[in-house]
């Protein structure tokens, strides 16, 4: 009797890792898949091609196309944050079926995108592993029968949790793949591909996590009425507190990695006590990245000089629809030659990429390993791991070069924005507009499919 935790994949008995094997190729006995061939990272270098590279896959693609032809239904914040909803059995089951239909549609769009990329790009190890993962997740969810009872929903939630866990390492894989394939494809196209992948990922994860949270809350207390709270995903954040927390974290990480370092202080001004509803993990990631960049630049500029760096001025402004953060530092600014590539996942001309590759690929590998190791521990646990949390707590020596583009996607997903103005030789001002998510009649952006 197969346990629930191996619903989708078999664990390799030797290394306990979860090889991304095709659903059909699963065999009850011989589980030597990864050690018979290669380790997790190298399996597609072997002579066994993945199952999706086959003519059968081509002709079966019709199903995918049907799903990709549907448009995703826009999701309102009310649905996501379940403002004022009285939870009932029917509502839970309704929500479950909504997720059951929306997830495959949205995944189908992204898989279709990937199918349109050049062959050479998708054959890259990282991109093809993501493709495999998406395809099998798509099949798993779409084959799930209609949910009619709460027990069905339980099973469904288990499947969702596993999916969330297995998809944790997607971001590093994608970023590494994108960097490695930067010479195979136009960088604008690659950037827009990454953006749509990440946006879609955020929306799917939020949908999934919200449904799981809804189920858990209902099961705990059927009379639970979340009208006063904002739900499991959205938290009431205090603007200044979030910045202080991120500052403390970034500071401690930096201090543990570099000895004897002088880090600029933060000075707050403005509407310091502003409170608003937001997805806490997203905000922590974005603010963390901004502060990390400042600290890194300060390090480079002031370390040699041995003088205390000028403080970073953090201005918080409470506007009708947004909370606006301005981080104003004097850490030397961004060199003008980098500015055109600031928001790109694909970093500029080839020479820069080679240089970055050297720095970045081992760094991202470290993230991947960390995430995959934690995935191994996590199966069987209820709470899915967050890849963002892992990125947020990474060591400052891991310079990934994707902080700003990622922050942009996360900020813009909820209708905010991020802008950077650099004064060469002096410092940088970063403007972060965060939408206040308390307005329940708003819809999440249409293009976040």
């Amino acid at each position: 009797m197969r346990s629930r935790s191996t619903f989708l994949y078999d664990q390799c008995r030797t290394c306990r890792s979860l090889p991304l094997l095709p659903y059909r190729a699963r065999r009850p006995r011989s589980l030597e898949y990864c050690h018979g061939r290669a380790s997790v990272g190298e399996r597609f270098n072997s002579d066994m091609p993945p199952s999706t590279v086959s003519s059968r896959h081509f002709y079966q693609n019709e199903t995918l196309l049907e799903y990709a032809a549907r448009s995703a239904r826009p999701v309102s914040l009310r649905q996501l944050a379940f403002f004022g909803l009285k939870l009932t059995n029917e509502k839970i089951i309704q929500s479950a079926n909504f997720v059951r239909q929306e997830l495959p549609t949205r995944m189908a769009h992204r898989i279709h995108d990937m199918q349109s990329l050049p062959y050479s790009v998708v054959r890259n190890n990282h991109i093809s592993s993501v493709y495999e993962l998406y395809y099998h997740s798509f099949n798993t969810i779409r084959r799930f029968p209609v949910i009619k009872t709460l027990e069905d929903n339980d099973l469904f939630c288990d499947v969702l949790r596993e999916l969330l866990t297995h998809h944790t390492a997607v971001i590093p894989h994608l970023v590494m793949g994108v960097i490695e394939c930067s010479d195979l494809i136009d960088s604008k196209r690659m950037d827009s591909f990454m953006e749509s992948m990440l946006r879609s990922r955020i929306s799917r994860r939020v949908l999934t996590e919200q449904h799981i949270a809804l189920t858990d809350a209902f099961l705990k207390d059927p009379n639970f009425k979340p009208s006063d709270q904002v739900g499991q995903v959205f938290f009431q954040c205090s603007a200044a507190d979030v910045v202080r927390q991120c500052d403390a974290l970034a500071r401690s990480l930096t201090q543990s990695s570099y000895e004897d370092i002088l880090i600029p202080e933060l000075v707050f001004e403005g509407d310091v006590s502003t409170k608003f509803a937001y997805v806490a993990s997203h905000l922590r990631y974005i603010v963390g990245e901004i502060l990390r960049n400042t600290f890194e630049a300060s390090l480079e500029r002031y370390q040699a000089m041995r003088i205390l760096p000028a403080p970073v001025l953090v201005t918080i402004s409470d506007a009708p629809q947004h909370v606006i953060f301005r981080f104003s530092d004097q850490a030397g600014g961004i060199p003008p030659e980098i500015i055109p590539y600031l928001w790109s996942f694909v970093k500029g001309p080839r020479s820069m990429i080679r240089h970055h590759n050297f720095e970045q690929v081992p760094a991202l590998e470290a993230i991947v390993e960390e995430l995959e190791a934690s995935v191994g521990h996590a199966t069987g646990q209820k709470k899915p791991i967050s890849s963002l949390a892992s990125l947020t707590t990474r060591s400052p020596t891991l310079r990934l070069g994707m902080g700003l583009p990622m922050s942009k996607i996360y900020a813009e997903f909820w209708g905010g924005k991020i802008a950077v103005k650099s004064i060469d030789g002096f410092g940088c001002d970063v403007f972060l507009h965060i939408s206040k998510l308390g307005n329940e009649s708003r819809f999440v952006q249409e293009n976040n499919i």
Binding site: T315, D318, P320, D424, F426, D429
Partner: protein, 418 residues
């Protein structure tokens, strides 16, 4: 009714030599009385002429001869070069005007401008036909002076013409036209005045200030400019609101650059004027941002906050950041501020605020640019900044204030985008 006929001689005018310019334009004056007898000239002819002449110049070209006094040969060579460039620019402007809808050209304001351009082309062409001696240069300089004066107050007229013709032309086309127009206008006026100044400074009786090369001030201090402008604008604000704004320079008090003081002064005047107005009105609870904040119980200060100016010397020029606490700009206005004819002044208040918008000639030295209240301030400032490859960027925090970044490129590495 007489039929409108194409005179046969215009075909002869499709000649590639610059000499055809004069004949091209003398005959196509838009007369003040309506007449259908003018011959038709194709734009092809003008394009041919424009294509064959030099049309771009760098900042380096302005200072290439070194400090005055400048030898006559160099002056004459400069005169020849800029004549070509100016003729090309003016022709291009004329062409652009001719491409406007017919009905617009019948608007007296616009046809007046068109006439001015034709007149200027003729003047420059005629007076500079022979440029070999000092006297030739003198005549050329006189012609340039007339051209400069003719066009000094052309912008308000043009603006009025466009405002009256809004039904015949889209906002986008207007913006594009005016962007190109202002760009060329800045170039021609700069070259003309620079050459006039160089000639004056090289006259035997002149004792030139060693700081200046023509119009270029080699030791221009943005900080000093800011102080002067603040001093002037405070008086105006005092008159208008009963309080004086303040400005502090936190970094870069002693930065000097080589640049054209007129341009930088215009830019800073516009931006400081906006900042001061916003700061004072925000303090007096007259802006939407302040009303939002007072509704939500946010505290306001006891005095209006100072505008903080940061001046930083970069490798390619200078960056000036103006940071105010004027409540910021609303989202819907942000898209429109860089367009033309978008002033946030109310119609009936326009005259009343004119004093705030019109720097007197003594400060600007440009003979009184009365462009205020017409919504031209920001786009024109941007045109000035971008002329040599710089930029003006703006970021706003609604409810708090606005940051403006003026990036000026000075000699070393810049090109005018002509």
């Amino acid at each position: 009714m007489r039929l409108w006929k194409r005179t046969p001689t215009c075909v002869d005018y499709a000649v590639r030599s610059p000499g055809s310019i004069r004949r091209l334009f003398t005959c196509s004056m838009v007369p003040s009385k309506f007449s259908l007898e003018e011959p038709v000239f194709t734009n092809f002819d003008v394009n041919e002429v424009i294509g064959s002449c030099r049309s771009s110049f760098n900042f380096q070209d302005l200072i290439q001869f070194g400090r005055p006094p400048i030898p006559n040969e160099a002056l004459i060579q400069n005169a020849r070069t800029i004549r070509e460039i100016i003729l090309t620019s003016l022709s291009r402007r004329t062409l652009a005007l001719r491409n406007l809808p017919y009905i617009m050209m019948l608007n007296p304001n616009i046809s007046q401008i068109y006439n001015k351009y034709l007149h200027s082309v003729n003047m420059v062409y005629d007076s500079g036909a022979k440029l070999e001696t000092k006297e030739d240069n003198e005549m050329f300089v006189q012609a340039l002076q007339i051209v400069v004066e003719t066009h000094t107050n052309a912008i308000p007229t043009l603006a009025k013409g466009f405002a009256e013709s809004q039904t015949y032309i889209s906002g986008d086309t207007t913006n594009r036209f005016l962007d190109a127009h202002l760009h060329d206008r800045i170039g021609t006026r700069l070259l003309s005045k620079h050459h006039i100044a160089l000639t004056k400074q090289s006259a035997p009786s002149a004792t030139p200030d060693p700081r200046f090369i023509g119009l270029v001030d080699t030791q221009l201090s943005p900080a000093a400019l800011c102080h002067e402008i603040t001093w002037f604008l405070s008086d105006v604000c005092d008159l208008q609101y009963g309080m004086r704004p303040c400005m502090t320079i936190d970094v870069g008090e002693d930065v000097t650059v080589a640049y054209i003081p007129e341009h930088l002064e215009y830019i800073l005047t516009e931006l400081l004027k906006n900042s001061f107005r916003a700061t004072i009105e925000h303090f007096l609870r007259m802006t939407p941002a302040s009303q939002y904040r007072s509704k939500h119980g946010a505290p306001t200060g006891t005095v209006p906050h100072p505008v903080v100016v940061t001046i930083v010397r970069t490798a390619t020029g200078v960056v000036i950041r103006l940071r105010d606490r004027g409540g910021g700009i609303e989202e819907e206005n942000l898209k429109r501020i860089w367009g033309y004819s978008e002033s946030t002044f109310e119609e009936e208040e326009r005259d009343g605020f004119k004093t705030l918008n019109t720097p007197p000639p003594s400060v600007t030295g440009t003979g009184g640019s009365s462009m205020g209240g017409l919504g031209f301030g920001l786009p024109l400032s941007r045109a000035y900044a971008e002329y040599f490859g710089g930029s003006i960027d703006l970021e706003t925090c609604f409810g708090w204030g606005t940051d403006v970044y003026v990036n000026i490129k000075t000699p070393q590495a810049n090109n005018s985008k002509t």
